[in-house]
Structure formats: C-alpha cells, structure tokens
C-alpha cells in the first residue's frame, strides 16, 4: 500500500512525450495529439492515460478532454485495454513505459485498434468478437444446472492442452494482426430499433471472418469430453461463410497473442476436422 518512489539504478528522462491518435466520434476524422508527462518509476500505459486524464492538457498547453480508453483489471487478464502501442497491438497495462522508451527514445505512440470501429479515441467496439463465439457455439451443452455429479475424468495431458486455450481473454490482438480480418463498421439507419440494428450487424459479422480466437475456442470445446458431443455443429459453423477457409495462414495471430495461445495449432486441428467432416458428410449422403 505504501509505494514510495525508488531508484531502479538507470537514469531516466525527466519527461517524455506521448502521441495519441484521437477520434471524437464514429465516422469522424482522426487526429494526432501530443501530451508531455513527467517520468515516474514503474509507469505503464494505464498510468500514462490516468495522468493524461488528470492533467487534461496537451504538450503545448491546450485544454482538452481526457483521452477515452478501456481498462479494467490492469493485470492483463481481462483484455479491455488492448490498443496499438509503438506499432504493436497489446494491452496498455502490461506495456511498461521504460521498455517502450528504450525501443523508441523520447516518445511513445498510441493508436486505437484498426480492425474495430472506433467509438471514441482508444475505445473500440469489439462486439463482433463475442458474436463469433455465438456463431461457433462456444459452450458446453449440458442438460441443466441441477446437481448431476462431476464431469468426466480427464487426464493431466488433456487438461494441459485445454488450459492454454481457455486463457483466451477475447482481447482481439490476433484479429488486429490478421491480414484476412477486415474492419466491419455499420452506421445505424435513422429510426432503426436496437434489435433491428443488432440483427443487421450480426448478419454482416457472420459473413466476415470469425478469426483465430473463435477457431481456437471451437477446438477447446470440441476436445472437451462433454463439448465434443456437439462438435459437428461447431465445425459446420466454421465451414460456413466467414469461416476457417478464409484463413490465409499468415500466422501473425500466434505471434501477437499476449497469452501465447497456440492459435495456429488450433487452426491446423480445425482445418483437419472440417475436412474430415466434409468427407464424412459426402459419404453419408
């Protein structure tokens, strides 16, 4: 609780600049803004954005509204604060200022993710990511929530295969880095109801690429002893429009995943399983 500043032995600049790509509303033009901050030990991008909100003025002294950003756990387990920092998509909480300044002395650059519609500044709308989880039915189809005894026994090896996939926090880094994942942005029509807009949005999302995270979640549930009972339906979803066939095998996803999830392994497994399913369906005709 008591956290007095301490000297970590390295000499650090007294101040540093942060350049942020801002946007006031969806559909409006974005613009760069420069902020100057006093250097403190152990700073991360979250504390940078907190300081910017508190001082509310740019490097040249102009009064501005605080930069809007998403953040919650600050431990890199919730996925909220994903943004593009010094050109790389990652979480703001675990992006440490001293490391960033070592990469690029004097200045840090922050942009919102480019594959999702900007809501404001660094806040983006990632609902498409959760829609993809609906599409692939990423859940165990259990009978109900009354007591029915334990689940099936599982080997340590199976748990160790499942656990890394289950750490996916739906942050969207894999999608930001994917050349096949394009931005889908819809504007609401005048007078359109919430439900109608959402339905139109879902239809567009479903036509577009589901992305590595959803493919990996398909594998997670398809290899679960209960989840595998509906494995076929998930594979069908992966073979529909916007499915696994769009993956161009660039393998960027696995490189940028902050949780080191073996996404390309999941994609490989899903590719094989969908092919087998096509063949099986052909023979079953």
């Amino acid at each position: 609780m008591i956290d007095t500043p301490h000297d970590n032995g390295h000499s650090q600049p007294k101040t540093f600049d942060v350049r942020i790509l801002r946007q006031d509303e969806p559909g409006e033009a974005s613009y760069w803004e420069r902020h100057r901050l006093a250097h403190e030990p152990d700073m991360n991008i979250t504390s940078v954005l907190q300081r910017i909100a508190a001082q509310a003025q740019t490097a040249d002294g102009q009064k501005v509204a605080p930069v809007a950003y998403d953040a919650n756990c600050l431990e890199e387990v919730c996925g909220s604060c994903t943004m593009v920092i010094n050109g790389r998509t990652r979480q703001g909480c675990s992006a440490l200022v001293d490391k960033l300044l070592a990469e690029n002395p004097g200045e840090i650059e922050i942009r919102p993710m480019s594959k999702f519609p900007v809501v404001r500044d660094l806040v983006v709308n990632r609902r498409r990511l959760f829609r993809a989880l609906e599409k692939v039915q990423a859940w165990n189809p259990i009978d109900g929530y009354y007591d029915a005894g334990p689940g099936p026994r599982q080997s340590q090896q199976d748990q160790e295969r499942a656990y890394p996939l289950s750490q996916c926090m739906s942050c969207g880094c894999c999608l930001e880095a994917c050349p096949q994942y394009g931005k889908v942005e819809l504007a609401r029509r005048p007078g359109e109801s919430d439900a109608a807009f959402k339905a139109r949005e879902n239809a567009d999302y479903d036509r577009s690429f589901v992305g590595a995270h959803a493919i990996s979640q398909t594998i997670l549930y398809n290899t679960n002893p209960i989840g595998k009972q509906t494995a076929g339906e998930r594979l069908d979803a992966l073979m529909a429009e916007g499915g696994i066939q769009i993956c161009g095998n660039a393998q960027n996803c696995v490189v940028v995943c902050p949780k080191s999830i073996p996404l390309t392994t999941s994609i490989g497994l899903a590719g094989r399983a969908t092919t087998l399913r096509v063949i099986k369906k052909w023979f079953d005709r």
Binding site: M1, I2, D3, T4, P5, H6, D24, E25, E40, N44, T46, S47, Q50, A53, A54, A56, A65, P66, Y69, A71, N72, C73, L74, E75, E76, V77, C78, G79, C93, S94, L96, R120, D121, R126, R127, F130, L133, E134, Q137, A138, W139, N140, P141, I142, D147, A148, P150, G151, R153, Q154, S155, Q156, Q159, Y163, S166, Q167, M169, L220, N224, G227
Partner: protein
C-alpha cells in the same frame, strides 16, 4: 400485460450465475454491466474455490468443518445458516463448474486436484492453474451467451446503473441506467433487481481491485434506502505487488504451494537474497505460527507483514516496504504447472523471474466483507429454505444483492478461495427465490406500473447528469480528489486502526466530499464521456467511505480484519503456572464481555445528506458457538483449555449458562 423481467446489475461470477440459473427457470433476464461481462473483476481471482471433497472427507473433513473454518476465520460475525447452506452446496457447485468445462487441474489418475489455502488444515481448494476466477467466469459467460442466443437473456454492455426505482410503498419496480457510449439515460422496469456489482476497493485509491470496483452501484442502492452491513470490514491481502496504477495480487496459492515469507534478520541486508544463509533469514510466520505457518488467515498474515516492516524495521528495502515471498526452493516445472499464470504477472510487471529471485510483496486492500444487508430464511435444519424469496433480499422489497457486494458470508474476515464459492452460490440461490417472488405477483409485471413512475426517476437522473455537465469552469479535479480520498482511507482504515486517526479521517473525507461537489469537468461532451462517469462514481464513494470510517470508529474491539491495538486482548504470559491460569481465566472473562458487547453486525442507513446512521444487528451463531480466535496468541493453548472447561461446566449446568445460546438460537433480531 407485459412479461415479467429480472434485471441483474453486474456480470461477474455472481451476476452470471444468477442470470444463467434464472434463464433455466424460464425467467427473462436483462444483464447490465459497465464492461463486457467477460472482462469483469472475477477474472482476477487466482487461487481457487473451496469445498469438501472425496479426499478430505476420508481425512475426517466434512461440510460442518468447512462451516466451522469459515465462521472461525470470520470471527463469528456472519449469520451461520447461509454459510451452512453454502458449504453444503460447495461440492455440487464444483461438480457443476467441472461439467461446464472449467479446466481444473488434474491428478495423475484424472481426478480434480486440490491445494491447501489459508485458515484450514485440509486441501479443499480446487483450481485451474493460477487463473481459477478467469476460468470459472468464462464457463459461466459461455453459458449466458448460450441463453442470449436462445433469447432468454439480453445484455446491456457498457451501461452504468444509476439507481433503483422505488414506488411510493418502497418496493423496487425497476432501475435507471446510462449508456456509456451514447450517454442515453433510460428507465428499465423490472420485477426483481439483483445487484451483483462486486467490491468497493477504489475507495482506497489503489487496491488489488479492477477499475470498475468503485462501489458506485452498491452506494447508489444504499443511498436509495438499502441498508449496508459491516462496512468497516475490509480485507487487506497480505501479498500484493506494489505498482503505480494498481497493487497487483500475488495469490495465496503461492504460499499454498509452499511459498515461504521471510525477511533478512539484518535490516535491509544488501546481499542477494539467495546468498543469505538460512540462519540469517527470519521466517517470521513459520516461527510465530508453527501450526499454520505461512498459511495463517489473511488478517494475521497481513498484520505480521505490516508489523515486521513498520514496527520492527525489517523491510527488505528502506524506501519501499516489502518482504520476500520465496518460491525459489520449489522446482521450476512444479511452479510452471501450478502457478504459471501468477508468476507470469510478476515477471511481466516487475521484469524479474520469481522462479529465480524471491518476490518482493506488501499488503494491499483486496476484498469488502461488508456490503448490502441481505435477508435469508432459515430452514429447520439450520440452513436456508431454498426458493424463499427472502434469500439475498435487501430491506427493499424486490431488490436483491449477491456476490461481493452483499455482506452475508464472510463475517469479519474472508478465508482464501471462499469468495468464488460465495459468489457462485449466492447467484444460484437467489434464482429460485426470485422465481417464487415472480409467481407471487400472479402475472402482474412492473412494466404495467404507471409510466410516470419510470419517467420521473429517469428525469431526476437526467437532471443530475445535465447539471454535472454544466460544471466546466474552474473547480476541483475529480482524479486528484480520488487520490486524496484513497490516501486518507489507506492510511487510517486498513491494517491498524486508531480512534483519533479515524476521527480525523472522517473530517478529511467530509471535507473532500464537499469539495467534490465543486468538481469541474474537463469534458462536457455527450458521447462516451468517461470524465462525467468517473466523477459520478467518485461522488458515490463518499457515503460508503463514511460508513466504513464511522463503523470502524465506533467498533472498539478487535475482530477479524478490524484491528485496534488499543482494544487488543494481550496474550497470557507469566512464569508462575497459577498466575498464568488466573490470567487465562481473566482473558476468557473479558472475551465473554467483549463478545456480548460486540458480536453484532454494524448496519448503516444512509441519511439524506449522505451521513451514515448506525445500528447493530444480532448475529445468528446458533450452529457453531463463538469461541476465542487464538491463531498464534501467546498462551493460546491455556486459554483454549480454560475456555473448553468453562463451556463443559455450562453444558453440565444448563440453567446457568445457556440463556445466551438459547436467545441466539432464534433468527436474528433484525429479521421478521
């Protein structure tokens, strides 16, 4: 006639468990959350979830002992029937989560593995790596998504709950919410409102809690007339990693897996910790608490670490207070297998590998044991009547609270790995009770209430919002006021509490509350205005902060997380055996007096000016009679002996001793 609906505020473990269970019971659910629910604070829970299990059962464990550990750990301040019901559901809840696909760690034979946590001698804690909360939350999130596709659940992500809507009779008929993107304020009629909004750690500035844990939803409910229980009981976690923006948790599981806490015997010994020989290390928890060692309950571990650094001056660094939490004696593969997730956090944020170098840690505010007062219906066997609409209901009809924001399960101190259990349990138990309530309405629905009820509530919040947006002139900076509030609260209302400091703090907080009324906004926009949302949550921190401080000021005793040195019962230490015995008898006399006076929950009611009015509620301790909490106290064994003899003598002469017990066997006084 409109269909009945239930609104759940918050999508952590409790809110999602409630939504999922209600959906199964064919109730339509709206789920409002500040953040997409998958990003809720429950993801931060690391260590595990407790229940009696097949192995511990064969070692003599049973649900009764889990109840006993929980109420003893909580210093008997919680009503026992809800705890009894919870621990009985424990094994079933873990089975359910297993079926939902949570990747619990496995034994070589394929069973769920368990580890040991603080405050118990059994390995009761099931875990999924070091991200158990995340794994449990994801499994529930996936189920709720299933219901969303089925049309049973409707989510309102990025919505802020502004308060309940009460009719003239005080019954809750809905709530008001604000869209954090468009800033639209809307009234939501609902037939039951379930607040599942988590803890209030941000009142302390930095804590182990997430950014959404401002306590604003609980505070808004409290300010609308709901009672708030045991506000002063705030758990300070013994082991956190100090940071500029947050104090990151280092799970108790690090000690559960064999981590040892120590400081060099020589103050601020500059040597590399690994080169300091065993004899020159002070394993102070192991030395002082040989039975529990590094796994003493949290309040005790916290106080010892705090003391060793402040009073004894043995902090490993001079400028920054910290002790070593050492895992370096454990094989790397074991650590990666069982603690991988949390060790990565340390490595990522501190840039040091804890498998090679002892971690530096210090206590941090972690959990609110107190929260919205909730009711329950006691069954004949001492548990709960499942399906009773009183379970988890606040004093306002139709308004429920579950999870960390209720005061029900943890008394004066929570045991590790009991929170995930209480969150899921309270979410599951509230559902059948709410279903009973809905059935009792005989088809009536809140949406059939006069529209003026909803419109006037909406208009009131709209006016407050608009008024805030107009404050753009020179004034106070909400972010800086928040830091000041956090500093005052952290300094006075955490590990060690003194009456003079608490009184001074109350004055300072009152002054900050007045200044906060003059907050100036740097953003007067009407689109994704985080500035105004933060300012509102700051304003709502003050009523809870005052309830915490006043509760702490008036409670002149030590109980669980509430430690006042001026009122501590000293240990029994005398060379002469007869004198020692006399002191032990005296200790037990004093303990009985203190128990009679203070074994009561503090209940705060919010007055219109935001000041708390306190009253006290008897605690139902009819299942496990209160006894001295003696972890590591000098002379504790003798005190225990005297205490047991006294209890035995009373049992043999019922006309003398059992008056209290009989009175306590009644459901608590505040209930009807």
């Amino acid at each position: 006639m409109a269909k009945q609906r239930v609104m759940v505020i918050g999508g952590g473990l409790a809110g999602l468990a409630a939504a999922m269970k209600l959906a199964e019971l064919e109730v339509d659910v709206d789920l409002m959350s500040l953040t997409p629910v998958k990003r809720s604070h429950s993801v931060c829970a690391q260590g595990g979830i407790n229940s009696v299990n097949a192995v511990t059962r064969q070692q003599g464990d049973r649900e009764w002992l889990h109840l006993d550990d929980t109420v003893y750990g909580g210093d008997f301040l919680q009503h026992q029937p809800p705890v009894k019901e919870m621990v009985e559901w424990g094994p079933k809840i873990i089975d359910l989560m297993d079926r939902l696909g949570v990747p619990f760690n496995r034994t070589a034979e394929g069973f769920r593995d368990q580890r040991r946590f603080g405050g118990t001698l059994f390995k009761r804690t099931a875990f999924a790596g070091a991200t158990t909360g995340q794994q449990l939350l994801y499994a529930l999130d996936d189920q709720v998504r299933r219901w969303e596709v089925a049309g049973r659940v409707k989510k309102y992500d990025y919505w802020d709950y502004l308060g309940p809507i009460l009719d003239a009779g005080g019954t809750c008929r809905g709530c008001v919410g604000q869209d954090l993107v468009t800033m639209e304020i809307r009234a939501f009629p609902c037939d039951a409102l379930i607040v599942a909004s988590g803890g209030c750690g941000l009142i302390y500035g930095r804590s182990t809690m997430s950014m959404v844990c401002t306590g604003s939803a609980a505070s808004r409910t409290y300010q609308a007339g709901a009672k708030y229980g045991n506000a002063e009981f705030i758990q300070v976690h013994p082991t956190a990693i100090p940071g500029a923006d947050k104090l990151r948790l280092m799970s108790e599981s690090a000690r559960g897996e064999g981590g040892r806490v120590w400081v060099p015997r020589k103050p601020q010994d500059p040597r590399d910790p690994k080169s300091i020989p065993e004899a020159e290390r002070y394993y102070f928890l192991e030395e002082r608490y040989p039975k529990y060692g590094n796994l003493v309950p949290r309040d005790i571990a916290t106080r010892e670490i705090f003391n060793v650094c402040t009073v004894e001056g043995l902090s490993v660094e001079r400028e920054r207070l910290a002790v070593y939490l050492d895992l370096t004696h454990i094989p790397r593969e074991t650590l990666d297998h069982k603690l991988g997730g949390i060790l990565e956090i340390y490595e990522k944020f501190q840039g040091v590998d804890p498998r090679e170098v002892p971690m530096k840690i210090f206590p941090a505010v972690h959990y609110s044991m107190g929260g919205l007062w909730v009711d329950y219906e006691r069954s004949a066997s001492g548990g709960l009547v499942v399906g009773s609409p009183r379970n988890q209901r606040t004093n306002l009809p139709g308004l429920y609270a579950i999870g960390e924001c209720d005061y029900q399960y943890h008394g004066a101190n929570r045991l590790g790995a009991n929170s995930l259990l209480s969150c899921i349990f309270s979410g599951l138990i509230v559902a059948p009770g709410v279903q009973t309530l809905l059935r009792s309405l005989q088809g009536g629905s809140a949406a059939d209430q006069p529209s003026a009820l909803f419109e006037s509530a909406r208009a009131k919040h709209q006016a407050e919002h608009d008024q805030l947006l107009r404050r753009t002139g020179p004034g106070e900076n909400p972010y800086l006021l928040h830091q000041q509030l956090g500093n005052v609260m952290t300094k006075t209302a955490t590990v060690v509490r003194h009456n003079d400091a608490l009184e001074a703090a109350y004055g300072e907080v009152s002054e900050l509350a007045v200044r906060a009324q003059r907050c100036s906004l740097s953003d007067s926009g009407t689109w994704t205005n985080q500035n105004v949302v933060f300012t509102k949550s700051l304003l709502d921190m003050f009523p809870l902060a005052k309830a915490i401080l006043k509760g702490a000021r008036l409670r002149d005793e030590c109980r669980g997380a509430h430690f006042k040195p001026a009122f501590a019962l000293p240990g029994v230490d005398a060379a002469d055996p007869a004198e020692r015995r006399r002191l032990a008898v005296e200790w037990c006399d004093r303990f009985e007096v203190e128990t009679k006076r203070w074994l009561k929950s503090t209940i705060a009611t919010c007055l219109p000016d935001g000041e708390p009015e306190l009253s006290y509620e008897e605690v139902d301790t009819s299942l496990v009679p209160p006894r001295p909490r003696l972890y590591g106290l000098v002379g504790g064994e003798l005190i225990e002996e005297v205490w047991k003899q006294r209890q035995a003598a009373r049992a043999a002469a019922p006309e003398h001793g059992n008056g209290d017990a009989a009175a306590k066997a009644q459901p608590a006084g505040a209930r009807n």
